[in-house]
């Protein structure tokens, strides 16, 4: 029943296709801009220069409020930094260690094995410093939102003037990419917020794209190796499929 097989495959595809936007339904009149990302498609990869610039944007803009609780300094090797550079970056931070032999906690410069320190000691402090709103951890944010990269890019560029009929309460901000349009985070990127060493454009679009690249890496650091193995696996299995099909024909030939 070839018809049955095709119908089933089509139905499953349709169901997944229909269900995904349904699941992702955040609600509201949200329109996402689509950026151009090097990491999409079967041969996707991370643009290391963009990752380094994105990390700089994170450090100088985002890190005031947002943590990266699943990223250690050693992970920055993926961005193209060598061991000495990573040690130097880590040493710019102080982390709490201990207890020492006297039972006291103490501060020391961070080492590559340490997690990038969170700006707040705990969630309560994070809330208290942000009008009661909790700045989410950014380690997984690119996977924790539907269409993550496009969403982040659109959100960072989505601060526009509120329509006249929209009431924006104190401490809230209007954003055309955010579900419900009212977001507690003030506009983080205006353009020229950081100074790039490589002279890449520091327009709002450039900065937002760079930090989105960085956050996608943070959420899915194994993306490149995954796709590389994937291409080989699909290639191998395609040949395996064709060969097993002809082997089947050969075996069955003696029946007729």
């Amino acid at each position: 029943m070839r018809k049955f097989l095709i119908a089933s495959a089509a139905a499953i595809a349709a169901m997944i296709g229909l269900a995904s936007p349904a699941m992702a339904a955040g609600g509201g009149d949200v329109k996402l801009q689509t950026g151009e990302w090097s990491f999409t498609g079967p041969f996707g990869y991370f643009d290391k220069a963009a990752l380094q610039r994105g990390f700089q944007v994170y450090r100088e803009v985002c890190a005031g409020c947002h943590g990266l609780d699943y990223i250690a300094f050693r992970n920055l090797a993926d961005l193209g930094y060598n061991e000495a550079e990573i040690k130097a970056i880590a040493a710019e931070y102080e982390v709490m260690d201990g207890p020492d032999d006297e039972g006291e906690m103490f501060m020391r410069p961070a080492r590559p094995a340490d997690i990038i320190p969170n700006p707040y000691r705990n969630n309560n402090e994070a809330r208290a410093s942000n009008n009661g709103a909790m700045p989410p951890d950014l380690s997984l944010i690119a996977k924790a939102r539907a269409n993550g990269p496009d969403y982040l890019y659109s959100l960072l560029l989505g601060y526009v003037d509120a329509p006249a009929d929209k009431d924006v309460p104190d401490g809230m901000h209007y954003n055309n990419a955010y579900s419900g349009n009212l977001i507690a985070m003030p506009q983080p990127i205006y353009g020229d917020d950081v100074e790039y060493a490589d002279g890449a454009p520091t327009t709002p679009e450039g900065l937002s794209a760079d930090v989105t690249n960085f956050l996608m890496w943070a959420a899915e650091p194994k993306l490149e190796v995954r796709k590389r193995i994937g291409v080989a696996a699909v290639f191998f299995l395609s040949i395996f499929l064709v060969m097993s099909y002809f082997a089947k024909r050969r075996v069955w030939a003696d029946l007729h």
Binding site: M1, R2, F4, L5, A7, S8, A11, I12, A14, M15, I16, L18, A19, S20, A22, M23, A24, A25, G26, G27, P42, Y70, N75, P136, S139, L140, K143, A144, R145, A146, G148, S179, A219, P221, K222, R226, K227, I229, G230, V231, A233, V234, L237, S238, F240, L241, S244, Y245, A247, K248, V251, W252, L255, H256
Partner: protein, 408 residues
């Protein structure tokens, strides 16, 4: 006596004392299989393969997972980031779960289409429904383990269903939770059961295969094999045909694992569970959506729960609802139309289960739910009486040769 079959002396020595090789040989060569099985008959083997993949990857994941509310989410991230190829093992486990359900749903619809549930295969079918129920329980508890937002809230919604049972419902829910809310004891017991249940599934699969081998496979024509001219040996004919299916399955699985690993999951599950914050829409995994739609179609909680379980229970009694002596839909023109309507209805229910329960979706859910039960409880029994079936071929060989001639 059968030991003489083997040329290898070691095999002969073992087989004389422990006749496992004779047993395998018997299943491989002596087990007669109808010669006309199409590719729809691959899906039993594929389901078995999916179960094996799930158990193997699951055991490795369990070595690196921590079943504690404070560490579960982090331990999964550690698997994704720091365990060697942990991301691969977890993505295979996640996506094979979905593929397992795809394969089993096709397997079930194949059984519905070709009447594989009819005498003498009623128990074979019912054991299959038991496997399906165990799979649903296992998948549900597995989804809770990463302790993301959907894990937590899905667990809350589903366990709360039992509170609809009169008088003892509240006590049952407390018993399931191991406390007064979904919390650490819940996660611990779900992990324990999630590890246990695949082995129960494997046990029922053995019974399923024993029942299958009693009368052999049904076939696309749905008439019994009349003699050796209608059958061929399982090996090499169906081993090689299953291999084609396995290659296709692995290829599609690889595409999902390597290029769309999160397409069948929910982004909210990458947010750590937060009992203080409810997601905008709580939805189960996609493979539960048809049942979720039935659950929400009823305005009464107990009614919804009963109807949802009835949707599966009705499959248990299916062999006695459809009393038509003709198995295959090929010879049942009216049944065939209703089969496709049911198929569309189930897809529609799946779609509606993913939509918010408001407006037109509620009405459509009710209609689709009504149709589901109408199909099994009214249409099938009526068709058994009123449908005029097409004449059946005399034997399996007859139409096989006819089509062979037609092609040639």
């Amino acid at each position: 006596m059968s030991a003489e079959k083997f040329s290898n002396p070691v095999v002969r020595w073992i087989d004389h004392r422990l006749p496992v090789f004779s047993m395998l040989d018997h299943e491989k060569y002596d087990y007669p299989v109808p010669k006309n099985l199409n590719y729809m008959w691959n899906f039993g083997v594929l389901a078995g393969l999916a179960l094996v993949i799930m158990i193997v990857t699951g055991i490795v994941l369990a070595m690196n997972y921590t079943a504690h509310v404070d560490h579960a989410f982090g331990s999964v991230e550690r698997i994704m980031r720091d365990v060697n190829h942990g991301w691969l093992i977890r993505y295979i486990h996640m996506n094979t779960a979905s593929f397992f359900f795809i394969v089993v749903y096709i397997h079930m619809f194949r059984g519905l289409y070709y009447g594989s549930y009819k005498a003498p295969r009623e128990l074979l079918w019912m054991l299959g429904v038991v496997i399906f129920l165990l799979m649903m329980a296992t998948a549900f508890m597995g989804y809770v383990l990463p302790w993301g937002q959907m894990s937590f809230w899905g667990a809350t919604v589903i366990t709360n269903l039992f509170s609809a049972i009169p008088f003892v419902g509240e006590s049952i829910v407390v018993f399931l939770w191991g406390g007064f809310s979904v919390d650490n004891p819940t996660l611990n017991r779900f992990f324990s059961l999630h590890y246990l249940m695949p082995f129960l599934i494997a046990g029922v699969v053995v019974l399923h295969i024993v029942a299958l081998h009693r009368f052999g496979s049904n076939n696309p024509i749905g008439i019994d094999a009349k003699g050796p001219q209608d059958t061929i040996s399982f090996h090499p004919y169906y081993t090689i045909k299953d291999l084609v299916g396995i290659a296709m399955f692995l290829l599609l699985l690889a595409v999902a694992v390597f290029f769309f690993p999160n397409a069948m999951g929910h982004p909210d599950n990458y947010i750590p569970a937060n009992p203080m914050q409810t997601p905008a829409h709580i939805v189960p995994e996609w493979y539960f959506l048809p049942f979720y739609a039935i659950l929400r179609a009823v305005p009464d909680k107990l009614g919804g729960v009963l109807l949802m379980f009835s949707a599966i229970f009705v499959l248990f009694v299916l062999p006695w609802l459809d009393r038509s002596p003709v198995r295959s839909a090929r010879f049942r023109p009216v049944f065939r139309i209703f089969f496709w309507l049911l198929f569309i209805d189930c897809i529609l229910l799946g779609y509606l289960g993913g939509m918010p329960a408001e407006g037109i979706y509620v009405l459509l859910s009710r209609l689709a739910t009504a149709w589901y039960f109408l199909h099994f409880l009214v249409i099938l029994p009526m068709l058994s009486v009123f449908e005029t079936t097409k004449p059946l071929p005399k034997s399996i060989s007859e139409p096989v040769l006819a089509t062979a001639r037609g092609v040639a």
